[in-house]
């Protein structure tokens, strides 16, 4: 007869419990690796929408069946599968994007950005977004464009979006 604490720890059939724990661990790894990775936010690039040091859940399945749309948050590949840039899609393939005194212009038309906090002084001459690429930027426009990681990224480098 197994002692009471052993039953509490391992259950009545320890091997079955061990197998269940192993299967659960493998499932957790696969879900985190290929579908919904936990994302630790580092940096001020997405302020005020997403704060430095917070945790979010990524969604690598989000853009399997469709392409990202303007305004959506995307995870852009860096190297491997542990770290990603977190950015917002501003320009779609084939569009012409520009910034004039902080205002976003797509094909010459002003596009409102309700997620921003305050004005930015960003200026960017009209730039065509090539086919198969997107123009992405962070929400923190207090940082000058020259110091901000913003620009063109390939569709294949967009690894997913955010679940939460």
């Amino acid at each position: 007869m197994l002692p009471h604490w052993t039953i509490w720890l391992w259950g009545r059939r320890p091997l079955v419990t061990l197998a269940r724990a192993a299967v659960f661990g493998i499932l957790l790894y696969l879900v985190g690796r290929f579908a919904f990775p936990p994302v630790h936010v580092s940096g001020l690039s997405m302020e005020p929408t997403i704060h430095d040091g917070t945790w979010r859940i990524g969604n690598k399945l989000k853009f399997h069946a469709r392409d990202p749309q303007r305004g959506e948050l995307v995870m852009v590949t860096m190297a491997g599968w542990h770290a990603y840039y977190l950015k917002r899609v501003l320009g779609l393939p084939g569009e012409t994007i520009a910034f004039k005194k902080g205002e976003l212009l797509i094909n010459g038309q002003v596009v409102p950005e309700p997620y921003l906090d305050g004005d930015s002084g960003w200026n960017l001459p009209p730039t065509r977004v090539p086919e198969g690429e997107y123009f992405v930027a962070g929400d923190n426009r207090a940082v000058p464009l020259a110091s901000h990681k913003a620009g063109l990224t390939r569709r294949s480098d967009i690894a997913g979006g955010l679940l939460w």
């Binding site: 320890p14 192993a22 852009v76 491997g80 620009g151 063109l152 990224t153």
Partner: protein, 171 residues
């Protein structure tokens, strides 16, 4: 009823899997990974580090690279073609900042020629502080590692950003 030996067998299997996870795989790839971590550690400067320590550190940094080397680290640094240039630029950079930290966020490592040449894509976070200002930068580099005189060293490195700046921009 589960016998004790069955529990022991299950525990041994779990330990074997754990051991394989930590110590298994390709020894050379592990050596390269460790070298990259040592290089990141060498690119560290604390506020109190003296000139002599920095001179030693810059030579140590240069020794992570092959005799024939080609580096394109990206703006504002120029292209580099020799170990001596690396040592000079490392010394200048370490002298210019009061604090420097390089952290490897992620890496992807594959053989180009098994046990002779490997390609590594590495994402790094660089934190630099100097003249009362600090800056945190994220960069991705493509590194080529070669086996030179039984040591793994970098023969080429170039910046490879998945987010490319448009040709013209400004504030």
């Amino acid at each position: 009823m589960v016998k004790t030996w069955m529990l022991g067998l299950a525990a041994a299997a779990v330990l074997l899997v754990a051991a394989w996870w930590f110590f298994g795989g390709d020894r050379d790839l592990r050596k390269i990974t460790r070298q990259s971590e040592r290089l990141a550690a060498a690119l560290h400067k604390a506020p109190g580090d003296g000139l002599l320590a920095m001179a030693t550190r810059s030579r140590e940094i240069a020794n992570f690279f092959a005799k024939k080397v080609s580096l394109t680290p990206g703006e504002p640094l120029p292209s580099i073609q020799s170990r001596d240039e690396i040592a000079t630029i490392a010394a200048t950079t370490l002298h210019a900042v009061s604090r420097l930290e390089v952290t490897i966020l992620d890496r992807e490592l594959n053989w180009v020629e098994p046990h002779q040449k490997a390609a590594m894509r590495v994402a790094v976070e660089v934190f630099a502080e100097g003249h009362g200002e600090h800056q945190k930068l994220l960069h991705t580099y493509d590194l080529t590692w070669i086996n030179e005189e039984d040591r793994w060293v970098i023969s080429s490195a170039q910046i490879n950003e998945s987010i490319r700046r448009p040709t013209t921009s400004g504030r």
